[in-house]
Amino acid sequence: MMEKTTWFEKLKRQPEYMGIILLTAVIILNIITQGSSFFKTSSLQTLLSTNTPLIILTMAQCIVLISGNIDISTGITMTLVNVFAVMMPTRVSWMPVWAAYAIGYCLAVLVGFTNGVLVGYFRIPPMLATYGMSYIVSGSCLLISDRPQGKVAKELWKIYKGHVYGIPNSLFLVLALVLIWLVIRKFSAVKEIYALGGDEKNTYLTGVSTTRTTIRAYTISGVFVGIGGIAWTLMLASSNPLTGDAKTLQSIAAALLGGTLISGGWGTMICGALGALFFGLVTNTTTYMFIKFIPKFVPGFSVSTYYQDFVAQIIILLGITLSVLVSNRTRKLVKRVVRIHKEDEQR
């Protein structure tokens, strides 16, 4: 018993705490509404392969949020990878498909790096810098292709949507990225990103370059966005210059749901993955609720699908409120006193 409490206390101190609770709740809800078909390989398969791009995108967003900044160009950058990889081989005759994917990926990293330079070196507010960047990227996408078109070779997306022993391949991709995170978090480079988000001034006082750390955070984000873009391409199995942008705000919301703080210095990429999975599951749950669960009790029940979005967003809003409340409640009072105290000393 004693052992159990300390284990629980330890979990409570982790940033993932809120994400795990929300995710467990929504999984239970999902199983109730969907019934046993939830555990079928095909159903898991669809669920994960649709949501993997958002999960990766949220992981990318998390590292930027941890550094105390924000990136609102991630969704459109993912689209850039998609459009570039699918359409370039058809536009430029000499470009092989693998090169298009590789260059598209490098572009995503470059966008991340440029964001980092704008924010870290030129000190442009992150909101503005990445907003401007999102329009540049969006423009480039439309230059390459101005409407949904193109095709991805079947062999490629079959890998993404396939499964091994009943476990979807997209899950392996996510697990691999989580593993990468678990490795890189051991490096001082990432610990400095946490410090930067926690307190920029004190990080500088400790002799850590805040400029370089900011650029590093955005570049890591770019690396993940690139992978997200490839997953997005394989999921769509074609190119679409329009839909990706909506994922940006979803990824920020999902990161907050997972327990990452928007003020920085708190959270992990795993938080992002949990939050994004919650996001996807909520949509899944409400869909099943409206087409399967409620009709079981109310025969002939049928409403517009917009109601599904309505209910899903209410659940998400509740989740965000809960997660922010939990992390804020204890801090609020203490922080206020500390801030005033600090200001007095600075004067």
């Binding site: 001082s188 004190n202 002799g207 004067r347």
Partner: protein, 500 residues
Amino acid sequence: MLELINIKKSFGAVIALNQASLTLEKGEIVALLGANGSGKSTLVKILGGTVKKDAGTITVDQKPVEIRSSAESRARKIAVAYQELSLIPRMTVYENVMLGHFHKGRFGQVDERKNRSFVCSLLEKYGVACNLDDFPKDLPSSTLSLIEIVKAISWDPDILLLDEVTAALHHNEVENLFSNLRVLSENGISIVMVTHRLSEIFNIASRAVILRNGESVADVDLKKTDINKIVYHMTGKMPEIAENPSDEKRSMEDAVLVVENLSIGESVKNVSLRVNRGEIIGLGGLEGQGQSQFLRSIYGAIPRDSGLITLAGKKVDYKSSANAVKDGIGFISGNRNRESIFSLRTIGENIFSAKMSMGRNFSGISNRMIIRQTNQIVKDYEIKIGNINDPITSLSGGNQQKVVFGRWILVSPEILLLDDPTKGVDVSSRRELHNFLRKAADQGMTVLIVSSDNDELLEIANRIYVFYEGGIHCMLCGTDCTEEKLVSAMMGMTAKDSVK
């Protein structure tokens, strides 16, 4: 090994350092002393690389060096423990200590085990009571100060700067720290200590460099001097110990504000005072002794831990400053840009802002009404402005402060709280502000004024409460109000110190 020669630094028109010099030999412990605003923190910050000097030379081992950033300062083996702490609240203690210089493993990853055992041994040595995985946000301030020191020492510096680190420490913690510092100095590390606890320096330092108004005025051997001489160098006055008359004898009848045993965290401890109608009360002391927090907690801007506040015979407990304003309390901060003016709005709107909070939520306010009422104030108190519709930033600092003062006159509060209102204000404006205060006090307003300027307190206050380390050290009134007595009280000197 370290030499600072004629360092100069000014912030705008304010000269923080002028001709400040400091020398430091290998393995020496030097105390850096000075009163409020004498520039000792600035000097530390210049060495730490967070403030750039305007002129002067710094030499390390006879070679001139430039310190342009805190990373360069670290590279010169200078480490600083800051008074306001440089810890990251949401990182673990061990990550905080090792940040920027983690021990690396074979693949360049952070070698947890090695780091942990290194930090653990340091924490044990310095008697820090905390776990490696605690977050600074959950720890008390005395522990945080020690962690800050350990963090500086973990860089293995040649020169260690300690900026007021003992302020939050308990007596036995200070003893332990000092014995460790002595070992460090025997191993060849030079230490500069900034402190306001004068009695401590005789225990630890061999030499003291004293700054006054940004100039280094004396470099004294602590074996051949006493505390009175040091205070003389710091302030230009010989200290005298004041008898401490009790508050209790004073009449109760006209008490407007009675505060009993007020405590706020670690910054204010058990403060009691009583203020009568129409008095001007000065709250003096070195900076950061809890005066500002005390004032703000009366106003409801900082929640207090314990204590009773009685306003005109009625117990009050403000949850927010809006309630305090409704009950007739006004507050003026010396930190104009942050806490008192609305820099984009006009002079008239700035004056009217307090009055606005008194009305109903949806009562109409016409521009003409604002202009009429505020013009009256401007005329009555002779505030020199161009046009009432000019932005407030068109005025000088002193005039801005007068406008803020007019803001409160318009609502005529019972009690006006001022936190260093004349900071960075020129002499003539200062005199006018003092006249305002006297005029208001004559009309029955009660004034509590925190000031870091001794002359101001002595000139204007009927009585002065002197704060030292979060408590009231003594109360001066009548003939006790002399600079000598004020100075000795500010330094926390008691009759015992003076005999020594």
